[in-house]
Point group: C2
Chain length 367, copies 2
DNA sequence: TTGTATGCGTTATCAA
DNA sequence: TTGATAACGCATACAA
C-alpha cells in the first residue's frame, strides 16, 4: 500500500493523475468522476472514488483557479480589524462567504491611502473574485475603478463614493445623526456640541451662509453626521457656531479625549454633546469623567455604535445603534450577486439605525 | 495603441506573453526582466519594463503559485473574529504577514470541531503556506496533523496540544490565574469563587484527593485557569468546594451572567470571584449589577483581559492582562520561521501577563 | 545573454 | 461513455 504520508516533509499530495492510475482509468475520466462534471459510468465512478479515498485525494484549488479564473476568494479591506465595527462586519462577511463556499482575505489600511492601494493591488494579483472595501478616500478611487475594469466587483462598506459606480452598504448618516441631536434638542438642550472623527485628507470645511452653517466636503460618515447635527440644530431653530464643532484624529481615542476636553471647556459649557463614532464616544466619556463632570446632570451624551460597554457603564449611554454584522452580511450578499453576474444599476443600501435612549441624556440642569 | 481596458467586462489582463510581444522579445526574457531572475541585458530589460508599464501588466499570482507551490497566503482559524481577543490577535498576525509579503485568509470555527476541520481542509486545498489556529480541541487534532504531514506548518494560538508537535503561543494560564486569586487571598478573602468558560466536549472533571480538589482535563485556557485558582487556594490554605466553581457556555455572555447569578446566590455568598476570560468577566459584572451588589464592597472581582471597558466602568476592574496583539505577532513570527525552514524542536512560547490591580478588589467587608 | 520547450494540476475539447 | 490532448500563465532546464 503506498501513498499515505510516511514522514514530515512528504509534501506531495496526490493528483487526479495519481487517482486515475490507481483506479486504472484515464485522467479525463478520473477528473470527471471527481469533479462531478460530464458523464461517467457508475462502475468507473465508484472505482475512481474509492481510489481517491484511498490516496486521500483532494483537488488542487490553485490549478483549478488557473483554469477557471475564479479563486473562490474575496478580499476585505478595512481600516483596522481590531476596531469592533470592522471586526463585527468581518464576521458577517465571513458568514455569508462561507455559505457561498468562499473565503475572505483580510487587509488593514489604517486609513492610509497608499496602504489601501497596495492592498487592493495585491488582492487583484491574487485574482480574488470580488472585494469589499471601506475606502480611505471616497474621491481618490482609481485603484477601485481598476478592479472594476478587470471584472472584479467592488462593494463599498460604510462609505459611498460619488465617483465610483458600485454598490455601497452604509447607513443614513445624516438622518441617524439628526435623530440623535433632535433627541437632545427635545430634552431642552440648546448648547449642543459635536465631536467628530476627521480624516486629515478629506476634512470638511464650514461656511456661514446667511447665519446658517453648512459643511462642504465629501460624503463620509463623520462629515455626514456633522451634516445631520447641523440639520437638526437648524430645524430646531438653534444657531450653531464652529466652536461647538470639534474633531479628533481618526481612530485615536487619546486625541478624542483631548479634543473632548477642549470642547467641554468652552464657556458657557455645552450642556450636551453628540459623538459621531465609537472612538469619539469613548474619548468623550473618559474626558467627561476626567473633568469630574456628571452624566447626565452636568452634560448629556449621545454616542455612536451600540457597543457592549455603553451598557456596562453607569448610566448606560444613549447611542445611535447600527448593525455592523448586518452591514457586513449585506455587503457580502451584494458582492456575490455581482460575482454571479448581476448587472443592475449600482445602489446605495441604507441599513437601519435606531436611537437607543438610555440614561446619559436628560434635560439640561439649569437653562 | 491597444491593451488598456476599454469597457467594463474587458476582463483579460495582460500576461508575460503580451508584454513579450509588445516589447519584441521572447516570453522567457520578458519573464526574467519582470520577475527579476536570471540575466537580462539592460536595454531589453528597459524595453520590457516600459512595455509592461504600458499594458498595465502585473503578474498572475495564481499561475506563479502553481509552479512554485507557495501561495504567499496563510490561514488563521479562530473561534470568532468578533471577539476582541481574536480580532486583536488577527491584527498582530496581519501586520507581521504584510511585512513578509503574505496575506491572511480568515475562518471562524465558533468552537465547533467540524467547522474547524472543514475550514482547515479548505485552507489546505487552497495551498496556504502555513496556518495559525486556535483549536477547538487540543486532543482531536488529526486535521492539523495532516497539515503538518503535507508540509504546511501549524502554529497554535492561545492553546497547547499535548499530542501535536508544533509551536504554540500562549500565556502561562496557571500562573496568571494563580496571581489573580493570590491577590484576592492577599486582600483577606477566603470564600473565593471562579467563573470559567467551558467547552462541552472537553469539560474538566474534579476529583477530591485527600480533601484537595484537583482538575482533570486537557490543557486549555479555561481549565488551566481553574488549575491556577485551585493552586492559589491550596497555597493559601483555603479549602475549595465545587460549589464555588462555576462554568458557562463558551462565548455566551448571557449564560455567563446567568451562571454568575447562581454563583452569587450561594450561601454564604462568595466575597470575591475570579472570571477566567473576557466573556465571563462581562457576564459576572452584569450579574453583580443585576443583583444590586456593590463592587468591591459586597463582592470583589478580578477579570481577565484588559479590554477598554474594564477601565470605563466605575470602579475600574482589576484584571489579568495579556497582549493578544503580541500573541498574534508572535504566532505569525513562529509560522514564518517554520515556513522558511526552521526545523528546530517545537516550543511553547509563553507570553507575558500581568495583574492590573484597580478598584474592583478590596478586603472583604465583613469576615 | 537570449530563445525554445516543458511542466505544474485541472478542466475542456475533440475524437474514438 | 471514455481517452488523448490542449490550455490556463509562469518559471525553468536546456539549447543556441
Amino acid at each position: 500500500m503506498s501513498g499515505t504520508a510516511r514522514r514530515t516533509g512528504d509534501h506531495r499530495r496526490p493528483t487526479v493523475a495519481d487517482v486515475a492510475r490507481e483506479a486504472g482509468v484515464s485522467v479525463a475520466t478520473a477528473g470527471r468522476a471527481l469533479g462531478n462534471y460530464g458523464k461517467v459510468g457508475a462502475d468507473l465512478r465508484e472505482r475512481v472514488q474509492t481510489a481517491a479515498e484511498l490516496l486521500g485525494y483532494s483537488p488542487n484549488v490553485v490549478a483549478r483557479s488557473m483554469r477557471s479564473g475564479g479563486t473562490q476568494s474575496i478580499g476585505f479591506v478595512g481600516a483596522d480589524i481590531s476596531n469592533p465595527f470592522f471586526a463585527t462586519a468581518m464576521r458577517g462577511l465571513c458568514d455569508v462567504a462561507r455559505e457561498e463556499g468562499y473565503e475572505p482575505i483580510l487587509a488593514n489600511s489604517d486609513d492610509r491611502l497608499d496602504v489601501e492601494r497596495n492592498a487592493v493591488g495585491v488582492l487583484l494579483d491574487k485574482r480574488i473574485d470580488g472585494i469589499v472595501v471601506s475606502p480611505t478616500s471616497v474621491l481618490d478611487v482609481e485603484h477601485l475603478r481598476r478592479a472594476e475594469e478587470q471584472g472584479v466587483p467592488v462593494v463599498l462598506l460604510d462609505r459611498h463614493s460619488p465617483v465610483l459606480a458600485v454598490d455601497s452598504v452604509l447607513i443614513d448618516n445624516i438622518a441617524a445623526a439628526k435623530s440623535a441631536v433632535a433627541h437632545l434638542l427635545g430634552e431642552g438642550h440648546r448648547r449642543v456640541g459635536v465631536l467628530a472623527s476627521v480624516d486629515p485628507v478629506e476634512r470638511p470645511e464650514f461656511e456661514d451662509v446667511d447665519g446658517e452653517l453648512v459643511v462642504h466636503g465629501a460624503q463620509r460618515p463623520s462629515v455626514d453626521r456633522i451634516r445631520g447635527y447641523l440639520s437638526a440644530m437648524h430645524a430646531g431653530g438653534v444657531r450653531v457656531t464652529t466652536d461647538l464643532i470639534c474633531s479628533a484624529a481618526l481612530g485615536d481615542v487619546a486625541d478624542a479625549d483631548h479634543r473632548a476636553g477642549e470642547l467641554l471647556s468652552r464657556t458657557p459649557r455645552p450642556t450636551a454633546i453628540f459623538a459621531t463614532d465609537n472612538v469619539t464616544t469613548q474619548g468623550l466619556y473618559t474626558a467627561i469623567r476626567r473633568l469630574g463632570l456628571r452624566i447626565p446632570d452636568d452634560v448629556s451624551l449621545v454616542g455612536f455604535d451600540d457597543l457592549d460597554w455603553t451598557t456596562l457603564v453607569e448610566p448606560a449611554l444613549t447611542v445611535v445603534a447600527q448593525s455592523p454584522i448586518d452591514m457586513g452580511r449585506k455587503a457580502a450578499q451584494r458582492l456575490f450577486a455581482r460575482i454571479k453576474g448581476d448587472e443592475s444599476a449600482p445602489q446605495q443600501y441604507l441599513m437601519r439605525t435606531h436611537l437607543v435612549v438610555r440614561g446619559s441624556t436628560a434635560p439640561p440642569h439649569s437653562s
